[in-house]
């Protein structure tokens, strides 16, 4: 660890997320921390990792850090640009995505996500952007990682105000046959919550805390009675190599490392 210039919270999140991508081949990701995590994984634990963007871009080779999933720099020099019907139909629903990153305003203990409203849908206190492709990503990706910059009880709730993107338990109860395991990792500013995602009724469990964070602090920041793993780990902080790659190669202008 670079003790002269220690890791910021964003750098920690990016490094931790990148390590979870070991062995993955196809990632469905948005822009921001996931971009950093995937770029770092490509240079470390998952060489050849390909990001697919819902805009249709496959095999991007951007000249600049992209600001949106449709940034012109993702297109110029890309290996392929698919129409959106093909991207969503053949690549995502077709079952070719190993892991996808999602965000949300609320998450519950099973990894169900709300990105639609705070309050009642019909007359919301806060109208949020909505699903976008999240409901599709949850149903069709092999597994889903969620990155939450702020771990607090307003986001980690016992009851979602609205379930935009259901995990596999809810999907099966409604007669669906989801392809994937739902949310298997939630990476926050406090630690990592995990689900294997291969059994019914399985809850997110605190499996690691970041250096200096206690399990009690994470439980207090969670709106349900959060389970803690017997073998609770402490996250290894970013290595010098990870920090160097993030700071010098991947995001030298600190666009997402803010």
């Amino acid at each position: 660890m670079n003790t002269a210039n220690p890791a910021t919270s964003s750098e920690l999140l990016a490094a931790v997320a990148s390590r979870e991508l070991a062995g993955m081949r196809m990632v469905f990701a948005g822009i921001g921390l996931p971009t950093l995590a995937v770029s770092l994984a490509d240079l470390t634990v998952a060489p050849g990792l390909e990001i697919v963007y819902e805009s249709g871009v496959c095999g991007a080779h951007p000249s600049h850090l992209p600001e949106t999933i449709a940034d012109a720099v993702l297109i110029t020099g890309a290996e392929a640009v698919l129409p959106m019907a093909s991207l969503f139909g053949y690549v995502l629903q077709g079952g070719r995505i190993d892991v996808a990153f999602l965000g949300a305003a609320q998450i519950d203990r099973y990894g169900n996500l709300n990105s639609s409203v705070i309050g009642p849908w019909e007359r919301p206190a806060v109208r949020l952007p909505g699903s976008g492709g999240a409901v599709e990503v949850m149903a069709n990706a092999g597994e889903v990682f969620v990155v939450m910059r702020r771990h607090d009880p307003r986001s980690f709730v016992a009851e979602l105000d609205f379930c935009t993107s259901p995990g596999p338990d809810r999907a099966r109860a409604d007669g669906g046959r989801p392809r994937g395991r739902g949310v298997t990792r939630v990476i926050t500013d406090l630690g990592i919550l995990s689900r294997a995602g291969d059994g019914a009724g399985e809850e997110l469990t605190l499996t690691a805390v970041h250096p200096g964070v206690t399990a009690e602090r994470v439980r207090a920041a969670t709106g349900w009675d959060l389970k803690v793993a017997d073998a609770l780990a402490t996250t290894a902080p970013p290595t010098d190599q990870e920090l160097r790659l993030l700071r010098e190669d991947i995001d030298p202008d600190r666009v997402y490392l803010r």
Partner: protein, 313 residues
């Protein structure tokens, strides 16, 4: 047949009060100039269909053109909120039919293919079907993958806009529209619609289009009007023509948060300009187009081949 016309005429002709209007372009090639002309012509009671209702939708809502929005992502990209849309939805004064990205894609696919429904593997377990009664289930007539119970899947109904408006890099006068970079869902949105207007950066000679027929995203038979409108997608971008105005997206969060500021912006930039050319000139003054100018990255040329002999080979 020459289908070129002015924006003013195209909107007057194809966008009536109360119409269902699809405006498509996913981040890339958003038909902003067409939305502005709809505002100038003070259309009322529109249903706006758009996968990602964004700045131009927020502007149309603020200008009281819109009764209902059908969409999947009602945010200002990752740059914050659409202030007016949020205010009205939270106040209960704007109807929102909430869907998802692939749900919208499938609604266009069903519309384009004249199908009564289109199946997809979304929605099971979601609250979306509770608030959107258009999302329904169908039981497969085949045994399940394990030979057992047939699968159930959700389906969406077709959407048939009265008119779909798209923006593109270029078209010929007949309406063969060529798009590169992100092609999104434009072709499906056009084929789903009763009429279609293509707004383009440039109208080009027939020979330019015919040199590369695979580049034609929408053939002329599906297009009713062609409008030349350079920079008509701003603040979104046109691959190879100008970059996205990310600064404006960020500014919109602030502008749209304040109803008075939003009103003033509309007065100055939309209602206060006669047409998009005036809007473009206005933005030129503060260096917008210099800031968004792009360099060259040529595609290279491929060869379609030409038969040499007179007789059949």
């Amino acid at each position: 047949m020459d289908k070129t016309t002015t924006m003013s005429e195209a909107i007057a002709r194809y966008v009536a009060d109360g119409a269902t209007v699809a405006l498509e372009g996913f981040t890339h090639l958003i038909p902003t100039a067409a939305g502005h002309e709809i505002i100038r012509q003070r259309r009322r009671g529109l249903t706006v269909v758009r996968m990602t209702p964004d700045i131009v939708t927020d502007q149309m809502i603020a200008a009281d053109c819109v009764a209902k929005v059908v969409g999947a992502f009602v945010g200002n990209s990752s740059a914050g909120s659409l202030g007016e849309l949020r205010r009205r939805v939270e106040a209960g004064t704007l109807e929102l039919e909430e869907c998802s990205h692939y749900g919208m894609i499938c609604r266009y696919l069903a519309g384009a293919q004249r199908l009564p429904f289109y199946p997809l593997r979304s929605y099971a377990g979601s609250d979306l079907p509770r608030v959107n009664p258009g999302l329904r289930k169908v039981v497969s007539p085949y045994p399940g993958p394990d030979g057992g119970e047939p699968e159930q899947v959700y389906v969406v109904p077709p959407v048939h806009p009265d008119v779909t408006i798209i923006h593109a890099q270029r078209a010929d006068r007949r309406g063969n529209v060529q798009i590169w970079g992100l092609t999104g869902i434009q072709a499906e949105a056009v084929y789903a619609a009763r009429h279609a207007v293509a707004v383009v950066e440039e109208v080009v000679d027939d020979a330019v289009v015919r040199a590369d027929p695979n580049r034609t995203a929408v053939p002329a038979h599906a297009i009713d009007a062609v409008v030349a409108c350079p920079h008509g997608a701003h603040p979104s971008f046109a691959q190879g023509y100008y970059d996205r105005d990310n600064a404006f997206y960020r500014r919109w969060a602030g502008i749209s948060k304040d109803p008075e500021r939003l009103k003033a912006w509309l007065e100055e930039y939309v209602l206060g300009t006669r047409d998009h050319a005036e809007y473009v000139a206005k933005l030129a003054a503060d260096g917008t187009w210099d800031r968004l100018a792009v360099g060259s990255a040529p595609s290279g040329s491929i060869d379609y081949g030409r038969r040499l002999r007179k007789e059949h080979p």
